[in-house]
């Protein structure tokens, strides 16, 4: 069952123009630069968005677009070479500028992350149950017996059958999908209010991916969490998110409710991404519409719009001045001087 949790979300996107419901995470003008070898790399360049409880927000972009770096900056998971400015408030509390010790209190308990590769995050020499129990005890001072019980409950929560027996298995005895469920159980051990899934299903097969995505949405609804999907896969975002942010060269270039983004795409970059995805409806051997070039060097960004050199709609003004990200239509922001006009109402 598609878990029927689309209903309660429908309000938010349209209300966003007016006074919005209270956001759980509010990111304002977040910038991340990496300095080294005499070069300054603008990995994230002025990103603002909000995440709401009970909502799924997808951040989509290619490698190097800044989608992952922006989330890791909030979690304090970047190396010391990174300079982070701007604001990220979680339930009102500022996260940027906190020391590692201070951030650790938020990590897991408020915000938790699930990554792409569960095999690298799990200890291969330790049974999975105790790994989850250990996560429980880092967040709450409970007895070992109680931590064990909570770990078994978490295994059930992520729909792992025969939880008591699985508790004693090693990571290598589990399939990729099951290992990712264990990672989700560990992430949920601190009872986070925001769960960030960073390419969490990328390494999985399509049928397993569908299972894990359904699980994430069910959990989000059961636990009233905010869910953020970081992905390169626009189709995945379209299918599972309420809102989608598209990033290019460190900036948000388009932000809209999922249904609107895909029916009325405005930013030519988003359109290029959409067109390049092979679809079952396309006849075989029909050439995919592609754009040339590559994303720009983040240490030497072009003047004006970063996408202009690859954009088929680009004009002189695009190369002269950078288009600001503006809410042109209710709930729909884009940064483009010459948006795609295809999506007529």
């Amino acid at each position: 069952m598609p878990s029927g949790n689309a209903g309660p979300y429908e309000r938010a996107p349209d209300e966003r123009a007016g006074p919005v419901s209270e956001s759980l995470l509010e990111v304002q003008d977040l910038k991340v630069t990496f300095t080294g070898g005499g070069r300054t790399l603008r990995a994230v360049d002025g990103v603002s968005y909000s995440a709401y409880a009970g909502q799924t927000l997808a951040i989509v972009g290619e490698s190097g677009s800044g989608k992952t770096v922006s989330c890791r900056a909030i979690m304090g998971l970047l190396p010391p070479t990174a300079t982070i400015t701007g604001s990220a408030r979680f339930a009102g509390a500022q996260l940027i500028g906190l020391t590692d010790d201070q951030l650790r209190r938020h990590r897991g308990a408020d915000v938790a992350m699930v990554f792409q590769d569960p095999t690298r995050s799990l200890n291969p020499t330790m049974r999975i149950g105790p790994q989850i129990a250990e996560a429980v005890r880092t967040h709450r001072p409970v007895s070992k017996r109680q931590a064990r019980q909570e770990a078994v409950d978490l295994l059930r929560l992520v729909r792992i059958p025969l939880a008591e027996r699985r508790y004693l298995e090693y990571p290598h005895q589990l399939s990729g999908g099951m290992r990712q469920r264990v990672m989700i159980a560990i992430a949920l051990a601190g009872r986070p209010r925001l769960l960030i899934a960073d390419e969490a299903t990328t390494a999985l097969d399509v049928t397993t991916q569908a299972q894990i995505m359904e699980l994430l949405l069910e959990l989000q609804s059961e636990l009233d969490m905010a869910l953020m999907l970081i992905s390169h896969d626009l189709a995945l975002a379209a299918s599972y998110a309420d809102e989608v942010i598209v990033m290019y060269a460190g900036k948000i270039v388009e932000h809209a409710p999922a249904s609107r983004l895909f029916s009325r795409v405005r930013m030519p970059y988003t359109q290029a991404l959409l067109e390049a995805i092979p679809r079952l409806e396309r006849p075989a051997h029909s050439p995919l519409p592609v754009i040339g070039g590559r994303p720009p060097d983040l240490s030497a960004l072009p003047a004006g719009c970063s996408f202009a050199p690859r954009c088929r709609c680009a004009a002189d003004d695009c190369r002269a001045a950078e288009p600001p990200l503006t809410e042109h239509e209710p709930g729909h922001r884009w940064a483009c001087w010459h948006p795609v006009e295809g999506g007529a109402a």
Partner: protein, 354 residues
């Protein structure tokens, strides 16, 4: 009976694989990676093979190339059974059968330049003199959209993922193959680069009359480049047919489940329920009868007792299932399905499914 050839094609297949079996001996037991797979690839045709992790699709690719050799079965390439050849004779027969793998950086020696990498197969097969080889390297680099003077001297680490995959393709093209086996050739690339490389595969196919055995986990991607699509599950083929038919009228419940799992960019398409539950069974102890039965919504007693054979239900569209699905629109009633398949198979093949 196991033939998957389109019935209208009279030409001889370029590649004819029959009853291919590949087992691995491990401490846990014998892994049945590929269990009796048969298919043909015709000249100029792309046969796509779709399968998930553990389906045996990568083992299938390597068995075809005899690296390593299959446990049994035959791989007839241009009429010669590669499985029976050894040493230099195998090498000679395999010259026109090349491969492109998923990770371009893993398959390119980081210490070599692009030029050296592309000329290596030419040297290995002692092709031409130094000047001729140089010319051929320039030719194939240009074919794959790389500038020989700009990229020829670079090392793999100085290339992007898309460029590195182009170099891997250039290497495969150097000896003018007639068939290229591609195993997940674009799955490590970003979507825009992926589209460029897919278009490159298509252009090369048209320009050089190539055939591909194109193996990937992404059904939409495979359909994009393939004439016919084969769906693989736990070491066996479950369905083979023209790409659009397999997509529009899947006959095997597993194909249906795969189709339903694909995220769609169409906002009108509501998120579909996952129709497939549970996990892939162990390839060491595969289920009796139909290997998909443990996860199949249509499974019945017969599915455990009797292995379904591949049978052609429509022109060129075959399935290995006791209870195949009906076409959408024709009604999902099973009686309709059986009636339809019986009619078709008598008409086309003269074989009556029991």
């Amino acid at each position: 009976m196991t033939s998957t050839a389109p019935s209208e094609t009279a030409s001889t297949p370029l590649l004819a694989v029959r009853d291919l079996v590949h087992q691995f001996h491990t401490t846990a037991g014998v892994v049945q990676a590929v269990s009796g797979v048969s298919f043909d690839v015709y000249p100029g045709e792309t046969l796509g093979v779709v399968g998930e992790t553990g389906s045996g699709k990568s083992t299938l690719a390597r068995s075809v190339l005899q690296a390593p050799r299959p446990t049994s079965g035959s791989v007839l390439f241009r009429g010669t059974d590669l499985a029976r050849l050894r040493g230099t004779r195998l090498l000679a027969a395999r010259r026109h059968l090349q491969m492109v793998f998923q990770d371009p950086f893993g398959s390119l020696d980081p210490k070599w330049t692009v030029r050296a990498l592309v000329s290596e197969p030419l040297i290995a097969y002692r092709t031409g003199d130094r000047g001729a080889r140089r010319q051929r390297v320039d030719e194939v680099l240009e074919l794959v959209g790389l500038d020989p003077s700009a990229h020829g001297g670079r090392h793999p680490r100085e290339l992007s993922g898309g460029q590195a995959q182009r170099v891997a393709i250039a290497r495969a093209l150097a000896l003018s193959p007639s068939l290229i086996v591609c195993d997940e050739p674009v799955s490590s690339l970003d979507v825009l680069i992926q589209a460029q490389v897919l278009n490159l595969f298509e252009r090369l196919r048209a320009e050089l009359s190539l055939s591909y055995l194109f193996i990937a986990h992404d059904l939409a991607l495979v359909k994009q480049v393939s004439d016919r699509v084969a769906v693989m599950y736990l070491g066996k083929l479950c369905e083979v047919g023209p790409g659009d038919l397999v997509y529009r009228e899947p006959l095997h419940p597993y194909t249906r489940a795969l189709l339903d799992s694909i995220p769609s960019t169409d906002p009108a398409a509501a998120r579909r329920a996952t129709t497939i539950r549970g996990e892939l069974p162990s390839p060491i102890h595969p289920p009796s009868g139909c290997r998909f039965r443990t996860r199949c919504p249509r499974a019945a007693e017969r599915c455990a007792a009797e292995e379904p054979q591949m049978r052609e239900l429509a022109a060129g569209h075959s399935v290995a299932c006791h209870f195949p699905l009906a076409a959408p629109g024709a009604g999902t009633d099973e009686a309709v399905a059986v009636a339809r398949t019986t009619a078709r198979s008598e008409e086309k093949v003269g074989e009556t499914p029991r």
